[in-house]
Symmetry: C2
Subunit: 198 residues, 2 copies
């Protein structure tokens, strides 16, 4: 049994070396600190590398790009939020009727998106990361629409419902058209009502 590889498990994750893992944590921490004591724009790759006490190349090897670093940062709160949906208390989590869950979902997504707007924008379309997030929300909305007995192309309807919750649209509505959070919530509720049917 000597030649047996313990972790790699077929051809999946080749496992990370200890120094690499240590640096990954140090870099994420450094980036988070830099955000905390300034804006996201101040998070420059050189600054992160210097603060973490590593070379610049290391940052890129760990996170591919600046967008990748931002996406990794985002990933933490995003997973927590997904957890609240999959197994948290109602009406966000399971247990409430689908209609209520859909309304709660929109309100929550609205808030979390506005809260992390800068980070999300800086993360851009970082590889499969962004798609994973989009895909989770789309799948959930699709599921709720199904529960509600909606007919039609549920995949398209889910995407269409989610589109007004994306950063550019929300920023436009808040900053250019001066809509309040309350108005956005009402708008979502109205939109949901129209889409699922009277």
């Amino acid at each position: 049994m000597e030649g047996m590889r313990l972790l790699p498990m077929a051809g999946e994750a080749p496992a990370e070396r200890s120094d690499a893992a240590r640096n990954r944590e140090a870099l994420l921490a450094a980036a988070a600190e830099l955000i905390a004591l300034g804006c996201v724009e101040h998070v420059t790759m050189d600054a992160v590398a210097q603060r973490a006490g590593v070379g610049k190349g290391t940052v890129f090897r760990r996170f591919e790009s600046r967008e990748g670093l931002m996406a990794a940062l985002l990933d933490r709160s995003e997973s927590a939020w997904q957890g609240r949906i999959l197994s948290g208390p109602p009406p966000l989590g399971p247990g409430a009727p689908p209609r209520e869950r859909l309304h709660a979902f929109g309100h929550s997504r609205l808030e979390v998106t506005l809260l992390h707007a800068d980070l999300i924008r800086a993360a851009g379309h970082a590889g499969a990361r962004a798609y994973a997030a989009v895909s989770f929300t789309a799948m959930h909305v699709r599921y709720l629409l199904g529960e509600l007995g909606v007919h039609g192309d549920l995949g398209y309807l889910a995407t269409a419902l989610l589109a007004p919750l994306e950063v550019p649209i929300l920023e436009q509505q808040v900053h250019l058209e001066h809509r309040s959070l309350e108005q956005l919530r009402t708008g979502w509720d109205d939109l949901v009502s129209r889409v699922v049917g009277c």
Copy 2:
């Protein structure tokens, strides 16, 4: 009548010097050429300046930024398109019933957005430019919704309807979810039906 300013007309546009105007045209032409014989990403500010035979500083003085240059490029086809809506033949232009116009609007917007996706992405949120475009489409959809007798926050509904026609969402649907143009058109029609009411 000697001291009278002919063009400035109050405090509006201070008029452009002849060499400035010449350079603006040369730069736009150079940029268009560079796009034509390569992708949008190859349009670098140095390259545009060199091809137009001017200094780099001139490019930035005329267009503020790379995004500004892209927005200026986009502005041409965008105005033509707006013209087709305001005074072109039905069902896109006036003359057709509002419902048909709304469907035609979505289909047309879909195509033009996908066609110029790269340019639109490169233009980003270039100052008031982007908002002007967004604002035109929003106003038009809002107007059509009004004609259709829809009740509620028409401004919000217009934005929500338009959101799935924005570049990031369309690219996601086309490239990640492999939806055809036909499916997108059908999706738009269905969405419109649900929003304006059965």
